[in-house]
Every structure is written in structure tokens, then in C-alpha cells.
Amino acid sequence: MMPFDELDERIRNAIAQEVEAGLPCLAGMEARVMAELAARPDRRPFWARLARARWRWALAGCGVAVLAIGFAIGRLSAPGPSPLLAHGGSLFAVAVPGARAVAVVGDFSAWQPVPLADPDGDGIWTATIALPPGRYEYAFVVDGRWIGQDPLADEYVRSFGEYASVRYIGGGS
């Protein structure tokens, strides 16, 4: 087995090369991501509108109905995909101009690829994923290449010889 220090050295070199190669893509990334976010429509949650109308019983009824439906979906063995991509979720974004296929893999998808989209062709690929509070490991896969260091991550963790990003969802994050 490869010694840990030699493996670390190789990983450091690989990361250095990856960062160097990605520097042009990172230029102005924050501004572009913020602009993209700002352009999104302001969607106030349905519950907020209901609460404002003082429709408390309707709110309670809807809450029970939504939870019951969610519970049923989770428990029943009905086939078919149910990717819960939704507005107001956690944004996963990566700047990779010229990429052909970009996906995020992580704990939340059992490490199956969830595709990202770049509809305006500016090289910023995004997906918004609704996730409950918790800790999530993830990485981007760009044209088959693993990118485990997301600049927007809270921290990084190394396991199984590769880095992954970590994001904490909830707690005001």
C-alpha cells in the first residue's frame, strides 16, 4: 500500500495543478454567481402568504397534508424518480466554461450524479437542491473529472484517497 506521506504529496501536487488550471475560470466567479442569484424571481413561500392571510386552519391542514404526502412518498414502494430540486434549496454552483456534462454527487444522492445546468451558456453550472438541516459531503464531476474542492464549501475532508467538500445546511447558513 502507498504510504500516507507519499499519497499526501501526490494529492497536494494534483490539487496545485487543478487550482492552477482553474484560476481563469474562478476570476469574477463570485460576482457572476451573485448576479445569477439576484436575477432569480422572488418567491415567497406559500406558507408565508397563508399565514399573512390569517388562514391558520388552512395552514395547519396544508401542513398535515404535505407531511402526510411526503411520508407516503417516502414509505410507499412506488417506482419512479423523485429528484427534489426546488427553489429555496441549497445552491450548488461551479464555474467550468466549456464543460459538456457537470454533476454533483454527494451523501444526499447516495453518490449518484445529480446534473447541473448552464442554460445561459456563461460557464456557471448550477443546481438548487432542497436539503434538510445537516452535514453533507459532496463533489462535482466535470466531464468525468472529480472536483472535490468547491470554493463555496464550508470545509474539505479526505477519505478513500480523494477530497470532498462539506457543507453544513441549516443554522442560518
Binding site: M2, S82, G134, S159, G161
Partner: protein
């Protein structure tokens, strides 16, 4: 009265929903997983091992079909000898009655990373360590929920493989567990109240018990 009933229903449904692993994968039934497994290109000995134990595991709730299906799909993409090796690592843990959801997700992650590095010996070694940590933590911290126990196992695995490399630095281990669980609790996860109780109880001797079991995996 009606308000109380509604409140109880909301809280109950919410609690049940929170008990499930937060996943955005397709919904599948145990029968669909077993059928897929039977038809898969996995080696016959791998299929036989899993088909022999999975029906009981599904019935007992120790394996979630939503987690199992992506794992088997990933397992079908690795070299035959690796599929056999990973199966031999995981089945004994399942036989001990350990709730496998987190460990199967970890195995899926291991395969995803292994596909990049092709360092299957490295991947198998670390998965073996994490499987032993999962089984040992599951037993030693039996008073806590399976999700929290497996989270502690994950933290201990990260400490050994990524932070310290030591199986016996219990003070460092404890600090890392406290730090990681503290960050998790601050997210507002449903595990938060349980985390407080666990942090009050877990001390270096408890971690020593876990490590003793990890290093002597044949002990039950």
C-alpha cells in the same frame, strides 16, 4: 381539542419524516431491489451473498432500499474482485444487525472515489476500517439512535484516516468528536438534542472501548 389533534399529527408526521435518510434518489421497493440484483451483471457469489441476507434486512429495517439500489448499481461497475472484496467487508457488519444506511452510502462514496483513483486496495482498506468502526460504535453507543451512532463512526473514521492516523489518541479523538458533533448540532438537525446527551456522556474510556472492538473485530 381539534387544535391538539392537529398539533400531534403535525409533530408526529414531522418526526417520522425526519427519521428517514435525507435522499433525493428514486423511490424503490425491496422487491424491486432484489429483482434488480438478481438480473444484474454482478458476480454470482456476490449476488448470492446479498440475496441471502437482504430480504431479512429489509424486513428488519436495517437496510433502506433507496440506499441499497444506488450502492448495487455502483458495485456493478467495479472490477469483479473488488465487488467480491467489498461484499466480504460489508456482509459481516450487516449480519451483526447494524443499521447499514450510512455505511452503504459510505461504500457508494468509496466506489465513486475509487473509480477516479483506481486505488482499490486503498479503498477496500479504508472501507474495512470504517465498517469495523460502524459495527463497534453501533454496539458501544447502543443507547443512541442508529443515525447518531453512525455519525460518530464517520467522525472517528475521519479522525483516523484524515487527521491523526492514531487509534489510541483518545484525547485528540474526543476533541474531534466534540467539534464535529457541535457543528452538526448547530445546523438544527433533528439529532441535536441527542447530540447534547451524547457529548455529556462520551469520554476517552468510551472511545477506548470502541477502538478495542475495532482492533479485535472477531469479538462480539
Amino acid at each position: 381539542m381539534i387544535r391538539r389533534v392537529v398539533a400531534v399529527l403535525v409533530v408526529g408526521a414531522w418526526a417520522v419524516a425526519q427519521a428517514q435518510v435525507p435522499l433525493i434518489v428514486e423511490q424503490v421497493s425491496p422487491a424491486q431491489v432484489l429483482d434488480w440484483l438478481e438480473r444484474s451483471s454482478l458476480p454470482p457469489e456476490v449476488k448470492a451473498s446479498w440475496l441471502g441476507i437482504l430480504p431479512g434486512a429489509f424486513a428488519q429495517g436495517t437496510v433502506d432500499p433507496r440506499v441499497a439500489k444506488p450502492f448495487f448499481e455502483a458495485l456493478a461497475t467495479v472490477p469483479v474482485e473488488v465487488a467480491i472484496q467489498l461484499t466480504q467487508i460489508l456482509i459481516p457488519v450487516l449480519e451483526q444487525g447494524v443499521v447499514m444506511d450510512h455505511l452503504l452510502i459510505t461504500a457508494s462514496k468509496a466506489i465513486a472515489k475509487g473509480m477516479q483513483t483506481q486505488r482499490w486496495d486503498y479503498v477496500a482498506s479504508e472501507l474495512r476500517l470504517r465498517a469495523r468502526l460502524g459495527a463497534a460504535t453501533f454496539i458501544v453507543l447502543g443507547a443512541y439512535s442508529p443515525a447518531l451512532r453512525m455519525e460518530v463512526a464517520r467522525i472517528l473514521g475521519d479522525f483516523i484516516t484524515g487527521v491523526s492516523g492514531s487509534f489510541t489518541d483518545y484525547d485528540g479523538m474526543l476533541l474531534f468528536v466534540q467539534s464535529e458533533l457541535g457543528k452538526l448540532a448547530r445546523t438544527g438537525t433533528p439529532l441535536a438534542p441527542e447530540i447534547d446527551a451524547l457529548l455529556a456522556a462520551v469520554r476517552a474510556p468510551v472511545l477506548a472501548q470502541i477502538m478495542e472492538r475495532v482492533l479485535q473485530p472477531e469479538r462480539r
